[in-house]
């Protein structure tokens, strides 16, 4: 029986290996044909150009994903962190439970539903407010992403904040600090690693999101601009895979985008691991 369970355990490892191997196997060929720097730093994406040379520059997607994630983090982290502090420290018990339930619900809403609400409510709103021809822009995507990452940030931050020993807060109050001062000068710094994990989780979710933003970002392979229609690494794959001919360089290039995305995620997660290890060695 032990062997059976052991094999079950190996399945996860198998999946990870499988994913890594296949992404590399499928993603490398296009890099070889087109050239790594031409692809990674190329600003023009015209894979099906017939009158001119097709070009496979994926920099627009990479930069859009980076800016989009950065924007989502800049909006989502303050809101999420402050909410987490409120729930963990300031809120009365019943209110805290209600808010936690709300956050769980937010987390459970399918991405396509977010996308649809974004498309129907946010995009026209942006169009009217900023007087654009279309509201389907990077800005819309950033707002949608910010809302989507709130649950990740709030949950993990709240856990980290609640785990800070009460003794620190008692000591702070005994020295004459107020509760609010204590939360920001003692509790929050003490929960640094947890908050960092929360932020990285948020980054991971934002950079990997596809369906929620495909309906609000306009889907044009532009270099990113707040009020431009843009395409992310994820939405590029999602929108073009269906019509990229099997075996074509176009399709291979899409796999390469998938590989780049995967590497980004791996880098971010490893970065977090090192950061936490450093923090642990400090104490």
């Amino acid at each position: 029986m032990k062997m059976l369970f052991f094999l079950c355990g190996l399945v996860s490892v198998g999946f990870v290996l499988c994913i890594s191997i296949y992404l590399f196997v499928a993603g490398i060929p296009a890099f070889k044909v087109i050239g790594i720097s031409d692809m990674l730093f190329g600003k023009v994406w015209l894979p099906t150009a017939s009158t001119t040379e097709p070009s496979f520059g994926i920099l627009p997607f990479i930069l859009t994903s980076i800016w989009g994630t950065a924007g989502a983090i800049m909006i989502g982290v303050p809101i999420g962190l402050l909410t987490a502090i409120y729930v963990a420290k300031a809120a009365p018990k019943k209110v805290a439970t209600a808010i936690r339930t709300s956050v769980q619900l937010l987390a459970g809403i399918p991405s396509v539903v977010y996308g649809m609400i974004g498309m129907v409510v946010l995009v026209p709103l942006i169009q009217r407010t900023f007087d654009l021809t279309s509201g389907a822009t990077l800005m819309a995507a950033i707002i949608v992403l910010a809302i989507m990452i709130l649950p990740s940030i709030i949950n993990v931050s709240e856990t980290a904040l609640s785990a800070v020993p009460a003794e620190y807060e008692e000591a702070s109050m005994a020295l004459g600090a107020t509760k609010e001062e204590t939360w920001f000068r003692v509790t929050l710094p003490a929960a640094r690693s947890g908050v960092a994990t929360a932020i990285v989780l948020g980054i991971g979710r934002a950079i990997g999101e596809a369906m929620a933003i495909i309906m609000v970002s306009g889907n044009v392979a532009n270099m990113p601009g707040l009020f431009k229609s843009v395409r992310f690494m994820t939405t590029a794959i999602a929108s073009e895979m269906s019509y990229a001919a099997v075996g074509s360089l176009h399709r291979d290039a899409l796999f390469s985008i998938g590989l780049v995305l995967f590497l980004f995620i791996m880098l971010i997660n490893l970065g977090l691991k090192f950061f936490i290890r450093e923090k642990k060695e400090e104490t």
Partner: protein, 249 residues
């Protein structure tokens, strides 16, 4: 008299934990609060700097007069009160920050930002707590890298950094080894020259060793309160006598 307590009562929800406590605490002396577990001595200590406010089920009646004010007056600024009445806890609780930042925390909270000033305050506090020589070369190192006894002296220094009048010590040596305990007892005896110390202890020998006044609590009541030598040699209440002779505890 630096503190005058008048008919202080405290309830934890329906549990009447402190009953009609009245006492005067003399300035620049060490007053020990003794009694068996659960008698209310720690509870009482925490009323003196309004740390009981942190507990939502606590209700307090009565008055505690300090410096011409009743500290339970709703208009009292609690953060200012705690600047004047400091506290050291049973288990050393330095912040997960550097030694310097631990000591500087109190002064910074109360508005002192100038670097030179903070440096001076940190040095003075660490000297007053008899730990300066041990840490002066490692002020930026984490406070948690110190030993248990050092951490507790650090906490004392931290409390002294805001220049309180009174230092409340809640069984501050009970978690320490005898050598560290001895060092802190020595320190406290020096501290009374500048500060007033009120300490809770379950160690009667400690009370005998270093305190000037001694208050015996039992089941939420203040049974006997007099100078230490009198209380231990000729106690007036039989319950006091029973406790100090070890008939219960």
């Amino acid at each position: 008299m630096i503190i005058n307590v008048q008919k202080l009562n405290l309830w934890y929800a329906d549990n009447h934990a402190l009953k009609d406590i009245s006492m005067d605490v003399p300035r620049n002396q060490i007053t020990a609060l003794i009694g068996p577990s659960g008698c209310g001595k720690s509870t009482f200590l925490k009323t003196l700097n309004r740390m009981q406010d942190l507990n939502p089920i606590v209700r307090i009646e009565g008055e505690v007069w300090y410096n011409g004010n009743n500290i339970y007056d709703p208009k009292m600024d609690v953060t200012d009160l705690r600047k004047h009445i400091g506290m050291v806890f049973q288990k050393a609780n330095p912040f997960p920050m550097s030694i310097y930042d631990n000591i500087a925390y109190g002064p910074r909270t109360h508005g002192i930002r100038a670097r030179a000033k903070l440096d001076a305050i940190v040095e003075k506090a660490l000297k007053d707590a008899a730990i300066w020589d041990e840490v002066k070369d490692r002020l930026r190192k984490p406070a948690l890298s110190l030993s248990g006894g050092q951490q507790q002296r650090l906490c004392i220094a931290r409390a002294l950094a805001v220049e309180p009048d009174i230092l409340l010590m809640d069984e501050a040596t009970s978690a320490l080894d005898p050598i560290s305990t001895g060092r802190i007892e020595e320190l406290v005896t020096q501290l009374k020259k500048k500060y007033t110390v009120i300490m809770v202890t379950h160690n009667m020998q400690q009370a005998v060793r270093i305190s000037d006044q001694c208050a015996f609590f039992l089941l939420g009541e203040l049974i006997e309160y007099s100078d230490t030598s009198t209380l231990f040699s000729t106690p007036t209440d039989k319950r006091t006598e029973d406790y100090i002779t070890g008939r219960f505890g």
